[in-house]
């Protein structure tokens, strides 16, 4: 991911064409605005109707009855579509010093800093991308952005879009369905094993790093793909609301791993609906890193539809000052001999609040199913907060369900032990916190893991003393 390249504005790889002129909708959301978005994107009727239907549902749906307070969200004062060339960027001199310090300390290459800091419109890993693109195209793999997919592969998109997260699922998925833009579309044919992770970062540009990304991943029978989105370095955004929807289809015997790390800097409400449906003997894995945002609500779901399906969730949440991470996951066992493992680690400091919200539901008939949930929370000071709301719903006798949770502070004995070896309190605390999240970090690709560890070390310098 972190290969440096020159920033240039020519879209030579053809999967995304620049808009002819900048386009920004007026504040608020209504039919006119949704139609304008669709028109600007030159969409066909079916997509326009999909959006309008979603808008109707969005209006009718209530806000969630649980979780953080969303009352400050005023839909009339938000801008729901903003194309990259609309000049929403800031001057290099306006980038906050602590953001720059972070980039320097965690080793973000020069070329990427400007993009992440919101100074430049885009970043193409051109050289890296083109080589890889040839490779996966030969395999028959489709990896493109959603806007292009809608135009190029409409039948395929129509077959899957909204089937896992239907229009009326919840208020924010309905919103996304009405104003979505950007996101990834991935299709892996039968039996194909994609050996290197597909990264959203390859074709990242401001458009793709959007407020309302819509992503669909289809892994046909026996295939394998690993998709990675986001990065640990803080990404600047001046949008206040992000509501993405992700639908992943893991067919018989296939395996999909979806790694996502979000670190939105700024006052963002990040409300995401992610669902993975796993068929017979399929394997689905969510690796979910939640570092940024002011309010983050995200519960990646594993729908274990076919017998023998396996699902795993590794979730990491870090809540610092003024942050509320309401995260967790869901495992729904619908067939026999399915297994789910949900592991969540959260760290709260400086007044942050991290809540684990989870659901394990084992339906009647899902005999022989096993589920294990483990959520651990580390509270670094007495200003911070941790909650656990795990729902365990069992309607089948022949199952094994276990759930464990613990909340603790940094152990005095451990701190003393490490300091007795010459490490100061900050170093010792960093080691302990990094050790605490190790089971999740070890599942991340190396560059992400290194960056994340450095990020934690950096924030510890603010946490202690």
């Amino acid at each position: 991911m972190k290969k440096s390249s020159t920033i240039n504005n020519s879209y030579t790889y053809g999967f995304h064409k620049p808009e002819k002129s900048s386009f920004k909708t007026p504040l608020g959301i209504n039919e006119k605005i949704v139609k304008a978005i669709s028109a600007y994107k030159n969409e066909l009727l079916w997509m326009r109707e999909f959006r309008l239907k979603a808008l109707k549902i969005f209006r009718k749906k209530n806000m969630p009855s649980f979780g953080p307070d969303l009352s400050k969200l005023n839909f009339d004062k938000l801008c729901f579509y903003n194309s990259p060339s609309s000049g929403k960027f800031r001057k290099w001199s306006d980038v906050p010093k602590d953001i720059l310090d972070t980039y320097n300390k965690i080793g973000v290459p020069e070329a990427e800093k400007k993009f992440l800091a919101g100074v430049e419109a885009q970043y193409d890993s051109e050289v890296v991308y083109s080589n890889l693109k040839n490779h996966w195209e030969k395999l028959g793999v489709i990896f493109t952005d959603m806007d292009t997919a809608v135009k190029k592969y409409p039948e395929l998109v129509k077959e899957y879009l909204g089937t896992l997260v239907p229009l009326d699922d919840n208020k924010f998925s309905a919103l996304n369905s009405a104003v979505w833009s950007g996101g990834s579309f991935i299709y892996v044919p039968k039996g194909v094993n994609v050996p290197i992770p597909l990264q959203a970062y390859f074709r990242i540009n401001a458009k793709a790093v959007g407020q309302f990304e819509r992503t669909i991943i289809i892994a046909e029978e026996g295939s394998f793909v690993h998709y990675i989105e986001g990065c640990s370095a803080p990404i600047y955004t001046n949008d206040s609301l992000h509501a993405a929807v992700v639908e992943v289809f893991v067919k018989k015997g296939a395996r999909v791993r979806y790694t996502s790390i979000q670190n939105w800097s700024g006052s963002v409400y990040n409300l995401v609906t992610k669902r993975m449906q796993i068929e017979e003997n399929g394997v689905g894995e969510w690796v979910d890193g939640n570092l940024g945002s002011k309010v983050n609500m995200k519960y990646p779901a594993l729908i274990l539809k076919g017998k023998g399906a396996r699902g795993e969730l590794l979730s990491l949440a870090y809540a610092g000052k003024n942050q509320y991470q309401d995260t967790g996951g869901k495992a729904i066992h619908l067939a026999p001999n399915t297994t789910s493992t949900l592991i969540s680690k959260s760290v709260s400091r400086n007044g942050g609040r991290a809540s684990y919200r989870g659901l394990v539901k084992i339906a009647k008939g899902a005999r022989g199913s096993k589920s294990h949930v483990r959520c651990d929370a580390l509270l670094l000071d007495d200003k911070s907060r941790s909650d656990t709301y795990p729902v365990n719903d069992v309607q089948e006798q022949d199952v094994t369900l276990g759930h464990e949770a613990s909340v603790s502070k940094v152990g005095e004995q451990q701190l003393f032990y490490l300091m007795s070896r010459g490490l100061n309190e900050i170093q010792a605390t960093s080691l302990i916190v990094n050790g605490f999240i190790e089971p999740i970090v070890k599942e991340l690709p190396l560059e992400y893991a290194v960056e994340l560890n450095r990020l934690i070390n950096l924030s510890m310098e603010g946490a202690v003393g």
Binding site: D382, S384, T388, P390, V399, T400
Partner: protein, 176 residues
């Protein structure tokens, strides 16, 4: 035991022990316990025996408000026939309740194939100088245990009886 909310507020140094047994009669069990006394503690042991069409909705709230408070909630349930148990436990540790120690464990043993069990052991922790944790298990009798006992010559019925007894012994001997 009554339906409706039972409210308890502890005093300084008070050690509260609450044994609760449900044999299928009540449809609701509600307890709201505030550990307001410094150094007060709670041991709540709940045994649930459900059969036929017994149904119960349980709500236990424990609120650690003072320093050095301790709570141990132990729930063991045996659910048979068409019975169903809906357990909701919320343990809250308020800011400033330093030295709090809270533990909740809920184990539901499902003995027939039409039972329903729901357990929501929730935690809200606003103080970091504490120890808090919980563990929940829901499931049928462990097959390995059953096999082991049967391999020693016990019939399935006898083996199940033994295992259920052992499960209950854990409850009765808890304080030791």
């Amino acid at each position: 035991m009554s339906k409706g909310m039972k409210n308890i507020i502890t005093k300084k140094n008070e050690n509260l022990v609450l044994p609760i047994i449900w044999r299928g009669k009540e449809k609701e069990i509600n307890y709201d316990i505030k550990l307001a006394g410094v150094n007060s503690s709670l041991i709540l042991q709940m045994l649930l025996l459900g059969k036929n069409d017994d149904k119960v909705k349980i709500k236990i709230n424990v609120d650690h408000q003072a320093i050095e408070t301790k709570s141990k909630i132990l729930v063991k349930g045996i659910v048979n026939d068409n019975a169903s148990v809906d357990f909701n436990g919320l343990v809250k540790i308020e800011k400033g309740a330093k030295g709090a120690d809270a533990w909740l464990s809920a184990n539901l043993l499902l003995l027939s194939d039409s039972v329903k069990g729901r357990a929501v052991p929730a935690l809200e922790i606003l103080e970091n100088d504490v120890k808090a944790g919980h563990a929940t298990t829901i499931g049928k009798i462990n097959e390995t245990e059953l096999f082991y006992l049967m391999s020693r010559g016990l019939s399935e019925t006898k083996a199940i009886d033994l295992i259920v007894q052992g499960f209950l012994n854990g409850f009765l001997n808890y304080e030791k």
